[in-house]
Assembly symmetry: C2
Homo-oligomer: 379 residues x 2
């Protein structure tokens, strides 16, 4: 029986290009035990005499043995991998979230896969077609790929939610919400309200807004908060003060904000303040203002949303999202669901975004007069 396994060793002699690593059979043979025993010393730890265990370990060391991940995954029926799927991998906000994820993964013997749209042309914030099989989303859902999925800012149609539930895999949402899944997000509506309220308090007259065209939930709620604040102050919501970014692949980007701001500045009357749906958009808006010889905040006040590190050095007034914390908590929850066979009740935790006042809203914050200043957080 072992003989048939030995063939592989022959094989490698004939085609040296194809590398074959040493297997459990090789070390079973060398340690003169069964493969089951070898497997045991590499897993259970228990039920193996100290003597044979040492033999096995020696053989493994001598042959430089490492278990084959795919084989383990197949046999165990789980992968010890979790996936994060997001509209863009490399983005400031997600970077902060990833820090939290990594933190929660520490010492957990779990690996991390990242899935993001391959084609930058896609309107990634829109849900890919659930039918299509090769989207980044579909890949993450493929059986045998991971034990659980972290969805970052992914809007969920019911169709997709069904698909996710069908796979009966652990799923946790970050910066998103759905009744069927655990979620961690900031109250975007509250944030939009606070931002706008602040601008109102500061005496601005024509408060504009930069949003996202395809209207993903976070952007939608921020806009709703903006509109509510206006109404609560007995102001009308004016379409001409609102511009939407349709930048691809990521409308929350700098470039999107730049374009939207440019649009806004081309209309009459010009806004004298703007609340942007993201910090990066706010950055782009500042750039646009500069190009139009408008000073920030004298001619145009700006408030963003996120509170990236970058925003601090730019002196941007913004609404803080606890990105890292969200990542950590979401991951912990995911891990718990993966481990717990049953299905504990779903809860959604919502954070309250905190207004961080800096200079782009026309205020001179006491502590940060001499910008740039930095918070020293741990990596």
């Amino acid at each position: 029986m072992l003989a048939c396994k030995r063939l592989r060793t022959q094989f490698i002699t004939f085609t040296p290009l194809l590398f074959v690593s040493t297997t459990i059979y090789d070390i079973a043979e060398r340690a003169d035990v069964s493969t089951a025993t070898v497997s045991r010393v590499f897993n259970d730890e228990s039920g193996v005499s100290e003597d044979t265990r040492q033999h096995v370990l020696d053989a493994a060391a001598a042959l430089n043995y490492r278990p084959h991940a795919s084989a383990q995954n197949l046999a165990r029926q789980h992968t010890n991998q979790i996936a994060v799927v997001a509209p863009v991998v490399a983005n400031y906000f997600y970077m902060h979230v990833m820090r939290g994820i990594q933190h929660a993964l520490a010492d957990r013997d779990m690996d991390l896969m990242v899935h993001a749209p391959a084609n930058p042309q896609d309107r990634i914030h829109e849900q890919p077609d659930p039918k299509s099989l090769n989207t980044y989303m579909a890949r993450a859902l493929q059986p045998g790929r991971n034990d659980g999925i972290l969805l970052l800012s992914m809007p969920l149609t019911d169709e997709w939610a069904d698909r996710l539930a069908e796979t009966s895999r652990a799923v946790v949402l970050v910066d998103g919400e759905h009744p069927r899944f655990e979620s961690f997000a900031v109250d975007s509506r509250e944030g939009g309200y606070k931002a706008t309220q602040h601008l109102i308090d500061r005496g601005y007259e024509r408060i504009g807004h930069i949003t996202v065209e395809y209207d993903p939930p976070p952007a939608r709620y921020r806009r709703e908060g903006y509109e509510q604040a206006l109404r609560d102050d007995n102001r009308a919501v004016q379409d001409k003060l609102i511009a939407a970014s349709d930048e691809r692949p990521f409308a929350f980007s700098e470039k999107g904000g730049y374009r939207a701001m440019t649009t806004l500045l081309g209309r009459k009357p010009r806004p004298d303040a703007v609340f942007a749906a993201s910090d990066m958009q706010a950055m782009g808006a500042m750039q646009a203002a500069h190009e139009n010889d408008l000073r920030v905040p004298e001619d145009l006040a700006i408030v963003g949303f996120d509170d990236l590190e970058l925003s601090r050095c730019a002196g941007l007034t913004t609404l803080r999202q606890p990105a890292r914390t969200m990542g950590t908590r979401a991951t912990r929850t995911l891990l718990r669901r993966i481990e717990a066979a049953g299905a504990p009740p779903v809860s959604s935790t919502v954070f309250s975004p905190e207004l961080v006042v800096r200079r782009t809203c026309g205020e001179r914050p006491e502590s940060e007069a001499a910008s740039p200043g930095f918070v020293l957080r741990d990596q």
Copy 2:
């Protein structure tokens, strides 16, 4: 034979908690063909009559079939996954590199794993012990985990290089170099030289340097460039003008720069200019300067290394690394090596870092007088 596979369906009835997805056997049965045929329609595309192919596809659709990734990986002996291993996942520089990686992966049907040290206490820039089996590095090397590895800023001892070569897997280095592997990096020594030279040209007298304690190659070369520039100007290299960050997990960080700068400012004579080994360190240094009531650049000039987006808005003079390009090119090379069975000659490509002058070095760059300004790159 198919009968034994059917058991699984029974099984699921008894233990509904364990989810079992539909397999190739299920659809073979339904379409009344062999599993080989099913496999063929999902792979080859060829050698199957249009008729049966349609049957199979119908059955697959009806049963909502998706191939099991682990099983494919095991049978095919490759995973269609590449891994990136880096000292920190979520870091500005790596984020830019990741953009490039993602870009190169577009439409390639490849997935991305990220491996980074689990324990933030580790001195991650030092090589983990090649003997230990459960480090992030070892995990990336496990057989059956990936088809190729991208090493970001990972210093390579010969021992590790051996281990890597042993697995005969495709390996490409980014921001690092080793004779045995393909690599993409910036000439750090040249960068250090240029930075220092610039400061000399601007008339600074006591030019300090912030480096990294455990002396990873990029930091080492930057320091060497710094020292060389000093010597070429007939100046002595003074230890008291150099401070090393030993911040963990990542000494190139803001916090590391902050601490090193604080140390430097505690010594006499104080430097009147500082070249930091990274932009984030430079940011920390600026913070330290502010806390000591020193104005930048009047009292202290600062030059960084990287040219992150953030640096632009901070007005930081720095040396630009083409991070995104490095990511893209490295990934393309990796993919090529994975596909090509043979071993094409190893080449190492070195980019020349470009000096980007902004205001922290006391210069008033023409184009960016009204900072913050931003480049509008695509996401």
